[in-house]
């Protein structure tokens, strides 16, 4: 009798645990599948702000996507296109201006902590002046989308064919921190190629190869 009760309890537990497991089966990742990878970056750069709110085009910062294999991380100089002037969130700047007006002083330069990192990398001092003693050094971003070396992926034909950035990189305009939304597996690539061959891209017929040597050579 005892054994029977134990059996029933155990069986119920097994069923429950399995049900939970089944519900979460979507998060099972096979080895080498980096889907959902969302690493911390050296600067808390927000794509949501720049792309979502400010409606900047992806190619503004990643212009190489249409003329090179790799889209690349923008040079710090590109950041400085705007951040020569923009050193802190608008609210913080306004607060400082009000405070200065009240106190009858010239407003001080407000620099947010994240942008300070950018200026440091550029070798700029407190007053955003470069000095020979502090040469610029690269910001070591953590790469999110990284294909294995035996895959020869090229951004150019994809951008030229009109594939949107979001097709592979997901809704980056909504992300504070970039996350890999696709698994970037070979099957995922090939299924997209097949679908493109069937339906075309943006109403245009395309011929996306599914031969091995297209990507592996």
């Amino acid at each position: 009798m005892n054994q029977r009760i134990t059996a029933i309890v155990l069986a119920t537990a097994v069923v429950l645990a399995t049900a939970v497991l089944a519900a979460r089966s979507g998060v099972v990742h096979l080895p080498s599948n980096q889907q959902d990878y969302e690493p911390e970056q050296p600067i808390a750069f927000s794509h949501r702000l720049h792309v979502g709110d400010l409606r900047m085009a992806c190619l503004y910062c990643h212009p190489n996507a249409e003329r090179s294999r790799v889209a690349g991380v923008p040079a710090t100089a590109i950041c400085m296109n705007c951040h020569r002037f923009v050193t802190a969130p608008l609210g913080a700047v306004r607060d400082e201006e009000q405070r200065a007006a009240k106190a009858g002083q010239t407003p001080r330069l407000v620099v947010s902590s994240e942008l300070r990192k950018l200026f440091d990398a550029m070798g700029l001092d407190e007053r955003l002046q470069s000095s020979p003693g502090t040469p610029p050094r690269p910001i070591v971003w953590t790469r999110v989308h990284n294909l294995p070396d035996y895959v020869a992926f090229d951004h150019r034909p994809h951008v030229a064919a009109g594939v949107t950035c979001q097709t592979c990189h997901g809704p980056v305009e909504t992300m504070e921190r970039v996350r890999q939304t696709s698994d970037l597996s070979m099957g995922w690539c090939v299924n997209c190629h097949r679908a493109a061959n069937r339906t075309g891209i943006g109403g245009r017929a395309v011929r996306a190869s599914i031969d091995c040597s297209t990507c592996h050579y």
Binding site: L30, S32, N33, D183, S185, M186, G187, V190
Partner: protein, 459 residues
Amino acid sequence: MAEAMPTRMRLPLIDGDKSLAQVTRDVCAPLDRRAGFPWWAAFLLSFSALGVGLVAIGYQMVTGVGVWGENNSVGWAFDITNFVFWIGIGHAGTLISAILFLLRQRWRTSVNRAAEAMTLFAVMCAGIFPIIHVGRPWVAYWLLPYPNFRGSLWINFRSPLAWDAFAISTYFVISATFWYVGLIPDLATIRDRLAPGLRQRIVSFFSLGWDGSGRTWHRYELVYLLLAGLGTPLVLSVHTIVSWDFATSVLPGWHATIFPPYFVAGAIFSGMAMVLTLMIISRAVLDLRDYITSRHIDVMCKLVIATSGMVGLAYITEFFTAAYSGNTYEQFAFLNRAFGPFAWAYWTMVSCNVLIPQVLWFRAVRRRVSAVLVVALLVNVGMWFERFVIIVTSLHRGFLPASWTGYAPTIVEVATLVGSFGLFFTAFLLFCRFIPVIAMAEVKGAMAADRHERSGVSA
């Protein structure tokens, strides 16, 4: 008048007029007693050889396949030679257990268990080489189709290498099944003889509660027959597919339509030679001379000479057809075999496979066990060289003279081959210690039928 003659003419299957209990006792004797010095000596020797092989494999796994002597032109050499050699050895087991069963050759009962075990061990040895040669053995399972992260990307079913993976794994599984099914009644016999203890429990586990029920025997015999019926085309298919690894190419010396039957004959030839080698040794060591009689050796010698003839005929056919073809590349490939840089390998092959076995035509030679042993060993050597010749001489002189090159095995390759022999003999020695080398139930049945026939009683 003629009624009495068969009795005089047929030799008995088993010498010594054994009773059933005596058969059990004799066959189980090596299992009951402690291993003696010869066994331990042999075991240590083969185990060290296995160790050498494991070190070599470990070294090449860490370093990469570059430690082999292969090069761009000779991309297959020692490894595939060994692979085909071992697969060939592995053919005699199923030949004896399946084909001879269908042909109702009762003498098979004395040797089939050991021959089948030999098949399994040889296939294991064979598997080592292509699995290492794929470069990354830890992903060797990619050879099998399974839903995967790449598409699903399926294996290329048009590739002879995929055929190989299927053929060899199927062969191993079915041979193991066949062997195990044949073993169940004997395991039950051992179970009932052993005193309670760990060993008895293990044997009991694997004997599946066999009790010799007539109903079970009735089904069992049918299943055994069906397995033999499946095993026969299977054994042919395996070496056929191995031959297709070469013959589907367009390389002169590889692309020949005769390859399938030629390889199968060669495989049976080398397999019979290996069975002879092992049988001659184990009948002496395990004291089974009454079961593996000179009649058995005689019959196997005849099979050796028959298959030697087939292999010889295939050699001549290839040479003749190359001359007849009028294709200069074909002609060159064969002239290069016989007179090129690897002529020594070619003539070793011809001598060991075709010329020397001809001495078995003489009954006097077949009766001298030591002479038979020497011939069998030489056939093993010759058949190894056959694969070496086919693979290396065809590759080292390809269509493009600019890429002509040579080949010499490295120490790692030789050590791996030594290791495969170590594995084979280690496994076989363990088998001799723990499993009856002779199928007791089958021998008992065959003895009964033999006695029945020899007594001249008509059913």
